[in-house]
Amino acid sequence: MRIMAQVGMVMNLDKCIGCHTCSVTCKQAWTNRAGTEYVWFNNVETRPGLGYPRRYEDQDKWRGGWVRTKSGGLKLRSGGRFAKLLSIFASPVQPELNDYYEPWTYDYANLISAPLGDDFPVARPKSLITGEDTAITWSANWDDSLGGVYATGSTDPIIEKLRDEANEKIKFEYEKSFMFFLPRICEHCLNPSCMASCPSGAIYKRAEDGIVLVDQDRCRGWRQCITGCPYKKMYFNHRSGKAEKCTFCYPRVEVGLPTVCSETCVGRLRYLGIVFYDADKVLEAASAPDDELYESQLDLLLDPHDPQVVAAAQAAGMPADWITAAQRSPIYALIKHFKVALPLHPEYRTMPMVWYIPPLSPVTDLLKDQGHDAEAAGNLFGAIDALRIPVSYLAELFTAGDTSIVTGVLQKLAAMRSYMRGVTLGTGRDPELAAAVGMTPEAMEQMYRLLAIAKYDERYVIPKAHREEAHGLEELACSLDFEGGPGMYESGPFGEASGRPVPVAIETYSALKARQQAEEAASSDQLHHRAGMLNWDANEDAKP
């Protein structure tokens, strides 16, 4: 057994209001630069909808992820190592900017600089790629809240599939449709196909916390990872010629802070924590037949309360607070204890580590619209069984089409609702409701606490990185080398500023703290090369 820790996320979709705060704060922090204008490490898509980039789920076209061979092995859908090298000069399938959208800005200056005239001046949209006037035809959330669903709804790859299977029309009249939001970041997969596709080996999984990163110094721009990732969460920075992706806000996570998207989420629906898994079993689990994939990924995650697992973790040198954190992990609880979180597209076989609690809202909304009591257990259970389309849609997203798993989860959520209504209205705790979904009343209330009360320190259980282990008091000893410190320019053998650059201008949080508490505001000189607003603070020079 090779026990490893993985940070992961669970999102409770019932609470997402589709406000895009997460996308915007993420963009400010990470992709507010040249070459990344179209890049959304976090995007929120409306389902049914096309997603971002458009129809990324159509793997017949985009060829992302893994496929199971006849002999039960795994191979990259886009081809083996030889095939990849031979087609390296031009990727056979790669989304073009058109499949995302052409980023634009508005010519605001015209509003104040236009000469006096009879017409109102307008701010024309200008392409950020060519600088020319542009017609805006798509964006990262063009079909938000089912906008334009008449035109685009039927081209949602999942709807297409369901329709083919059911051989019937799925209605999209606004009032009859169902809708929910799906926020997406990189899945920080256990078996990442982006990594497997990278000829240079520049993409790596951090041994300590499983965060998947692109080494910006080793990436050579072969752009195979973009095809490789089935979630299309690998982006090409067209200015630097390097691949970039969600970083799980590693500088924050390392010091125990939640990611920016989680921290700023209006619905407080994101959970962060770690899980232990057996790295030697990943390939085997990822090769399971389609209908066993959910179970096999569950099996991969180890029970942090099991004394054997704890012993193995200790033997592997896992720090004590990481073991405690794994035991308190909200994501482990939601994924494996309560079994209400599901992986996104397990059939891609990358073993994703951002899981979702499927929304009950399509069901409750429909009940409410039809004048029923949407919290009565009987109504809810009946509706879950009757509403074939929302349930099979969710199943296509989260269980490779297995509706029984989704139904099971929705029933748990429905039971919790009705059970807690009993508690709130004082009509009593109904143990039978809990039993009907295979839970105890205590478990039901624990789950309610985690899902509905969702305290900050229960949502986020993030153990800090252990640097001091290997490096003694390095934080103290080296802190002068950080941005603004006197040691900062003495790096390479050729004097000032020589040596290998570190492309990500992220200061450590100790340096940030020093800056925040300093008497004087940080000068723009100190900050001018900063690549993101991740460590913005109020004590900064106001000058641009």
């Binding site: 041994a207 050579r220 067209h238 900062m488």
Partner: protein, 254 residues
């Protein structure tokens, strides 16, 4: 043999080799971030999918031809095939590959010039590289087609001049006379080749030095320990991600 010959064929080759080696080491040490193909497929894919493989595969055959012609002494091939046979094969394969390379790069340049975003993403460095690359290729074709006769009409086989000189370079005893006896077509082609080689470390062509052959052997999943030290600060004078707020079209590199 005059002083110019000695400079061009006795000294310059070593200078170019030194620039290539030292430049590449320097680039590798100091500009990993700029070491990339700078792929433009995000902007345009249809033409690239034809042109880029055509150019690269053509180029590899051409490079193989260079190596064979320069490294294998004529005396050896004479043992196996006749001069005419060798010439026929070389000319046949060489022409196909040469034409593929030329058409490929022609398409690439056409695409670069006509696809707005690709043109905008073309740096001055790229333009210089294209001029020299195309010149080297065209001059190579000119040399092959017309360089087999001296101006006085004598027959000239580069494998009896250029190749001998090239091999003598490898053992550090440059046979300047052999090279001086070649035709002007070959001389100009070689000089342009020198320019191209010297440019490699300082242009996007460095991508050729990191052909990812190790991909065939490495495990699919790469685990790597977190960097030991917290990221050192980067500052104004190094290449890296652009500062926040840089517009896509802004050309200034810090």
């Amino acid at each position: 043999m005059n002083a110019l010959d000695i400079m061009l064929w006795g000294v310059l080759p070593y200078v170019v080799a030194l620039v290539l080696v030292a430049g590449t080491i320097w680039r590798y040490k100091y500009d990993q971030f700029g070491w990339t193909t700078r792929s433009s497929q995000l902007y345009e894919s249809r033409l690239l999918r034809v042109a880029s493989p055509m150019f690269h595969y053509g180029l590899f055959v051409v490079l193989m031809g260079h190596l064979m012609g320069l490294l294998i002494p004529k005396a050896w091939t004479d043992l196996v095939v006749s001069q005419e046979g060798y010439h026929a094969v070389a000319l046949g394969a060489g022409t196909v590959a040469g034409v593929a390379t030329l058409v490929g790069i022609g398409l690439l340049i056409y695409r670069r010039r006509t696809t707005g975003p690709v043109f905008l993403a073309t740096t001055r460095n790229d333009k210089l590289m294209y001029v020299i690359l195309v010149a080297a290729i065209v001059l190579g074709i000119v040399a092959t087609l017309t360089g087999d006769h001296t101006p006085t009409g004598e027959h000239h086989n580069y494998r009896e001049t250029v190749s001998i000189w090239f091999r003598s370079l490898l053992i550090f005893q440059p046979d300047v006379e052999a090279m001086a006896a070649s035709t002007w077509q070959f001389k100009v082609h070689i000089l342009m080749g020198f320019a191209l080689i010297a440019l490699i470390p300082f242009s996007r062509l460095v991508h050729a030095f990191t052909v990812p052959l190790h991909y065939l052997f490495r495990p699919y999943v790469v685990y790597r320990s977190r960097d030991d030290a917290p990221a050192a600060p980067s500052h104004g004078r190094v290449r890296g991600w652009d500062p926040i707020g840089t517009k896509d079209r802004e050309r200034t590199k810090p």
